[in-house]
């Protein structure tokens, strides 16, 4: 693979990412008052509920999958809590840790936003050569 090819792949990747994020941001914000990262975190929490019995998450566990710094994630969760979409609670076994759980409002908001996200992603990705 030549440098020129690598560069062209990178530009394609970058352009596609920018276009999708831009669309997602606008649609999620306009229709559901959610940023892309906010939705992403809710999404992980919903997925997690299916996997773990209690539906609790350490903040740190959320960091994987959402591409944000620790501080950004901390503030993002604070925003979600303020909006009533998640709850933060101490965890008993390690009192440094914080559990994050979805509220009913959070579950509802996510389920409302999910079709929007799916639609935007499908519009961009469904019928393309490299997916």
């Amino acid at each position: 693979m030549t440098d020129h090819e690598v560069l062209s792949v990178w530009r394609e990747l970058s352009a596609r990412h920018a276009a999708i994020v831009s669309d997602l941001e606008r649609e999620l914000q306009d229709r559901h008052e959610l940023g892309v990262s906010e939705f992403e975190v809710l999404d992980r929490l919903v997925e997690g509920v299916c996997l773990s019995a209690d539906g609790k998450f350490r903040v740190q566990e959320l960091a994987a999958g959402v591409h944000l710094s620790q501080s950004a994630l901390s503030r993002l969760i604070a925003r979600l809590e303020k909006a009533g979409l998640v709850l933060r609670s101490m965890c008993a076994d390690d009192r440094r840790g914080v559990f994050v759980t979805l509220t009913d409002a959070g579950r509802i908001r996510h389920s409302e936003a999910l079709p929007t996200q799916r639609r935007v992603l499908r519009d961009h990705l469904a019928a393309t050569p490299q997916g």
Copy 2:
């Protein structure tokens, strides 16, 4: 293509983009005191020099290709000018417009940073399935 497949492609794309940008940012900053977007703009200017006789660019022309808002681009160019890497000059035929031109320092800085960028991109993209 199922929703699940679309989602998985999106996560792959997103993760790859985040990893590359993060690496690029660190390497370009540490070695050359350039952000990713700053380098990208210099890169476009260098390419443009090859194509146009005078090497002048309207700010607006730069916007295409660099995925930034008009205001972000305006400030970015201001930063580059302050760093001595580009010059801004009025254009005579339409005095609303601004020409941006590389300085020698800008050309040098770009040529120093180019191998770093190429290396990072190659490390991430060279030997992968979908490129």
